[in-house]
Symmetry: C2
Subunit: 271 residues, 2 copies
């Protein structure tokens, strides 16, 4: 998918919501456990109920790998279902991968070709030759961890490197990499005040913003500091939407919570 197609979808749906499909079998409605593939059954119900309210879905691969082959199959079925039924929706493999050159190419093939995701999240620690193999794929997007939403972000990401925080150094350095137009960035919503600084370095790139909802980020603040002319934001909510209810009405409850966020986004976009 091209960035223009993503922007068009945002404008049509008046939404820049991304729904995180982080499926934990202990947290889903227990009546689904009798299904042949409870993970996919849950995802399909959530997608069917919310696809008109969001522009992206983001399965975190950890939740699928934890169930072994069964989990990997559920991930395959989920992305296949999305690509078949809703090809306009932007798909994110939240995998936080990264390895040396030829090995990163294998990861890129796994997510961009075998699973056919539009994008994958990647960790920056190993530098240029660990990220550029992902950037080489046309109309695929590499979402680089910059400033994450957890407490541990302050261990290294905000440490000063030559008088400037490490995450800013990551942003600036990554702009010089080949095919950097295919980069987006993860920036946690728990630190909205950083967004103004970040926009000085990357004024246009899309930001994937986790932490609105369960992690306490504020949508208005994030938009105030992070929004671009094309919105330039994908706001992720996982638990706050998919676990809105543990009863048979879980998909409807998820849609209601997604709609509340979408309406807030539509209001922001109309201003």
């Amino acid at each position: 998918m091209t960035t223009d197609q993503l922007i068009l979808q945002i404008k049509q749906k008046k939404s820049f919501l991304c729904i995180g499909l982080d499926v934990d079998l202990d947290k889903i409605p227990q009546h689904l456990l009798k299904e042949e593939d409870p993970i996919f059954a849950f995802n399909k119900a959530i997608i069917d109920a919310t696809h008109h309210l969001c522009v992206a879905y983001k399965p975190n691969t950890a939740f699928y790998e934890a169930y072994g082959i069964r989990g990997w199959k559920a991930l395959e079925k989920t992305i296949a279902y999305l690509n078949e039924k809703h090809p306009e929706i932007f798909t994110i493999a939240d995998a936080k991968r990264g390895d040396i050159g030829n090995t990163s190419t294998m990861y890129a093939k796994a997510f961009f070709e075998d699973l056919a995701f539009d994008s994958v999240t990647v960790a920056p620690y190993m530098g240029k030759d660990s990220v550029e193999p992902f950037l080489a794929f046309k109309n695929k997007h590499t979402i680089l961890l910059a400033l994450t939403s957890n407490k541990g972000a302050f261990d290294f990401q905000t440490q000063e490197v030559d008088g400037k925080e490490l995450y800013k150094h990551v942003l600036e350095t990554s702009k010089r990499w080949k095919n950097s137009q295919n980069l987006m960035y993860v920036v946690g919503a728990t630190k909205a005040e950083y967004l103004a600084e970040i926009r000085k370095i990357i004024p246009e790139a899309f930001l994937l913003v986790p932490g609105v909802g369960a992690q306490g980020g504020n949508l208005q603040e994030v938009c105030k500091y992070g929004r671009t002319a094309n919105i330039g934001l994908l706001i992720n909510s996982s638990r706050g939407i998919i676990y809105a209810s543990k009863n048979e009405d879980f998909a409807k409850a998820a849609a209601l919570n997604a709609e509340a966020l979408q309406k807030e986004m539509a209001a922001i976009m109309s201003r």
Copy 2:
């Protein structure tokens, strides 16, 4: 596996060799492609021929994920085969994972419980609460990326943070994390001169050292600067061993190359 069991194995085998099982279907002997599971068939042959020469095997998950379900099944079969036939051998999932708290726990379950690896490699960028969930597993080991063997290591890892390189900051900070006795570290062999500095910070911890062989590192130099009383090193070789031949004799050729390294290690240990 406990660290003491690993040390015992090293002393018995007079080896601290780790063999990287990075299986690329384009590079394995082509007669294996007619097998039902060529990846596992290749791994089994390599393991059968080399298990007495090495103390660890390290499949890099990228090579398995690139083949989807088929690859994940081959990974499952490989680790099951190792745990059944050679339970004394230390197993490393080279996965370079890392995510926020509860999500890292899911990754830890995937590799420590579902697949039953002894250890997993983890990226440090997201800090303490992304790594501690791995450290909570008893007799399991978390191998933290410190200084990698690729060119991109110089993008961020060697940048100065408060007058000290980032990778040193990672080493020092990680020592204060809960259950840090379960930490080992990835340190690239292409920078043997850094090892003396690293040993000042972590005098005892095991180091997983890639880059001997294909990436140009030197075994004698690595041991000179990095060795401890208990060796404290796992030297990885992947391509130099497993792709020693593309013919039917590939396993024998792999064993010869592994034996050459093992003999060099035995000589170092006898000095």
